[in-house]
Symmetry: C2
């Protein structure tokens, strides 16, 4: 932490993914992604992966490096009215931090093969945590609008999905 | 992002919590915390909270400012052998990023009253995201050892819990 209150973090690795362009139909979220990729941890952090094979899912915290916008309000997916950015998953947020849960397929040295990727190729990785249902799975959650919306996306045809992708690209 | 690859983030707010000393029996994780506190978002980010009342739970991403150690291996809670830090939830991790899911009780302007706090008073907040079961709740998770361990903590008596708190304080 710096004197001016800013916080300096180091990249611990990088995401390698087939998603390299905004036109690549980037999944909306990792939960609906079947995309496979790798997390390549830098050599100096390799020891930190010891025993990680015991987990089926990992939470990846990363830096949304392709997004340079920082908004306080945005029109979320499938909505018409603006909302505050902290009530959305929009990447155009202050600090550009992303969190995705991926399935760990295998580990080879400092390279983790994972499924459920929704990050662009080259995304800087800041932390890896085991996904633990008892910690991360919260019961009794109520969301007035977002649950319905995500169900709606599941039921969409190709054209509708493409129009959403367009929205995401422009954000 | 800086030329040397480091990433500079701004504090968007602060956690106010009754937990101010390591002797305060800090909960192991937010899932077993009944502690109430507030998230005070800085004035310049207040607009980002518009509509956040529609969510019952929020994921808070924060900086573990009280921990100055950065280890690659650590002996996790209730374990005897060291593991890589990325297979644990230990705060002594590179980048010191923490994620907790809390229940939103109320909002008054830029102050969110929340329950399930496991952060120290004064913790710098970096991001707030809505907790969305469809996104964050992953099915079919297998954890070879951590699930058993957390069940074990639930069944512990006072003395056993105190010994764990001691372990956490020393980490």
């Amino acid at each position: 932490m710096q004197e001016d209150g800013s916080i300096v973090l180091a990249q611990i690795g990088v995401v390698r993914s087939p998603l390299s362009e905004k036109s690549d139909n980037v999944p909306f979220q990792s939960f609906n992604s079947e995309v496979e990729g790798t997390i390549e941890v830098d050599e100096e952090y390799e020891q930190g992966l010891d025993g990680i094979e015991g987990f089926s899912h990992l939470s990846i915290i990363y830096y949304l490096h392709r997004n340079r916008k920082s908004k306080l309000r945005t029109v979320p997916l499938l909505e018409k009215e603006e909302r505050g950015i902290f009530g959305t998953r929009s990447p155009s947020r202050p600090n550009h931090l992303g969190v995705s849960t991926v399935r760990l397929l295998s580990r080879k040295g400092r390279v983790l093969r994972v499924k459920g990727v929704d990050m662009f190729d080259g995304t800087p990785v800041l932390d890896i945590k085991p996904y633990v249902p008892k910690v991360d799975l919260v019961q009794g959650v109520e969301n007035k609008w977002l649950v319905d919306k995500l169900d709606k996306i599941d039921g969409m045809d190709k054209k509708q999905r493409e129009s959403i992708q367009k929205h995401l690209r422009e954000e």
